[in-house]
Amino acid sequence: MSSKHRMRAGRAAGWGALGAAAVALAAGAGCGDRDPFWSQPVNFHTTAFGLDGAVALVDYPADRVVTLVPDAEQRLSVRAFPAGTQILNVAASPDGRQLLVLAAGHRAKLGDPEPDQPPSLTIVQPSAGVAAPVRRIDLRFLTDPLSGLALDPGGRWAVLYAGSAGADSGAFVENPNELVIVDLADPSGAPVAHTLQSFGGRVVRLTFTPELALPGGPRHLLVVETDQDLSLLQLEHPETPEITVPLTAAGDTRRLAPAGITVDDGDPARDDDARIGIRLEGDPGLVMLQLEASATVNGFRPTVNISDAGGVPSDIAFVRTDGGLRLAALVPSQSQAVLVEPETGAVAAVALPAAYRRLSLVTAAAGGGAAGTDVALLWSGDRTTAGAAFWELGRTSGAPYRSVEPLAVAGAIGAVLDVPPPRQSLKVLAAASGDAFYLLDLATRTTSPLLAPSVGSAGLSLSVSPLGDQVLSFVPSQATAATVDLGSAHPRSLLVDRPVSGLFEVARADGGRSLIALHDQGDVGATVFDAETADSSKRRLYAGLLLEEGTP
């Protein structure tokens, strides 16, 4: 071979090598993109819901809901449901059959590979046998999303409003008085937007009333509390203008805000005596609205009575005494309760043995109601006042109450948990100290203490199984969990290998029940037990649940 040929061959080899290197480099670097899902962080903090037959995890960064459905062998079936881009708010329906997910959607700019997606409300129904487990309600008419979500305890309506997300919701300009009412019972019905006539307030809280007998027919009302007034809107007819009741009297320079409301339908035979009681932030005033017949477009109008409780009320409820309906209010600063006569506004004070701050009516379960009078359970709601008491609201010897009967509870009660049927005669009293709880039998008015002295300052997280058979307890971020059978008060500790972030009891399709303890490390794990036995030798551990395939 001549030298010229050799040189040519050498050059050819060099160029060939460079070409091959270029091809290999192109192949090795940046030859494809993966789904952005895998680069999303995991942000899992208490965003788990116990639903009917499943536990649902809200995977915010991945815009989806992941359901965990247990079987008889403690295996978990994982399904993922897309829930719209940028989840703003999530709420479970009271019956646990639906999870409602409000998403802001996405507005694609030029060149944005992610397509446009309008705001939406996604309803996930993971129960077995549901034909369409996901239903999406398009909220296209909302260019800017609303982040507040309130659900009707009856499960019929959902209301969207300007929530607390603020700038995080993606809205540039927000109307704090805008509501969107969604009738969940009407799959074909379009959401209805309604803007409250503004007097300068901002929506703070929404309350759905039960069906009230009102002039013009039975109605469900939406009570909208703003930071300065209160509005009443007919849910069946959201197009009807609402009624707004200012809470500050003319000439008063203060700006009184509602702190809580209570509703009573009154005499079932009358349609003009439904009432709404209102307590005020930092003010001793008690406002009572009676919804009387009127020739206005609503067919009713509120008449306002204001009474002085003698101190700032901490809780209110309509109660039935021997003397008839009263608005009861607890005034912890005076260690007393007051009973307000709704017609006259007359106030009767009742001395209490302690500065109780919270009350709930337990009439039926506590054996009251025979004479048409209520029984209330009083407790403190914080660490300041020890104990709890029953308050009989009958009248004896001229006193506007029969008795206040303290319970044998050593510490302060932080919360009272209801127990669903079949054990609705029980209440779970959570100690404010976080290291004990009590099973209160309303029928016998006895308490069974259950102590967890090793818990320390972390405090127990308590919940009652939706099946009404167990109290579920764990210490957040510790590998400690236990259940207490509500029939026998027998505690059973659960052997878990990772810190627990949630504990749920779920009814299985085979008729059994499973306990699912969630672990929020990594991509979320779970330990599944049979709830009948809580047998640790038959538990099953899962890790990386948010990594599962799981797409429906």
């Binding site: 050799r6 050498g10 290197a21 494809g32 993109d33 990594l547």
Partner: protein, 256 residues
Amino acid sequence: MTSKVSKVSRVSKRAIKTALSLALVLAWGALGAAAAQAQEVAAPAYWPAPQVQARPDRTDHWQMSVGVRTTLLRDASFDRFSTDDAMAQLSSSVSHVLGSSGRLSLAAGLGVDLGSSGASARAATASLRLDRASLLVEARYRVHARAQAFLRLAPGVIHGSATVVDVNDSAIGSLDQTFVLPSVDGSAGVAFALVPASTVLGVWLIGEGGYGWARDQHLVLSQHLDARDQNKAGTLDFGTLSPRGAFFRLALAVSF
């Protein structure tokens, strides 16, 4: 976790860079040597010319290669294990010419590709190791004294291992699965000699592209627990992995 993955990625990239640098240095060196040799021959310094005894061209019977293979795996299940759909492997082979006819020759041999890919997948670290052993059948055509084209068919098996570390400090946070799959590669390439055919040892730069097929594998990862605890472990379903796709290989080979 992220740092671990980026470390894996860095090591992988460094290996590729090193191999390429080595190839280019060798190519440059060989070119330089050839040029120098050409200069020597081109300038006779005295008369009569010396008696030059030319060495006969080398007959290559054996070839051994080492290089980098990059496979594009577009499968969605692979996304957990890679940020760029690419699986880089250290690729080596040895082959022997079984027979030749003119410019055409037929060779057979063995190939081994070793490699893994890792990435952060949500809060976890996921890695997939794929090691392939294959039988090679290769038809070579010498287009030039220093250039060859070839076609290769390589049936073999893949030994795979998928691992996810969900929680680093927990025995139950690590899950894996191993599997064996049949595979077949079909490829074509070119080889350029970096030294003259008259040298004792041939040095080649090989570029190759083709398609590697392997059977689907359903990935169901399980936790690392003692046998007595295995029934307490739930599995992690990653769906079906299809470890097949186009591949490219850049290698250096020696022949003799």
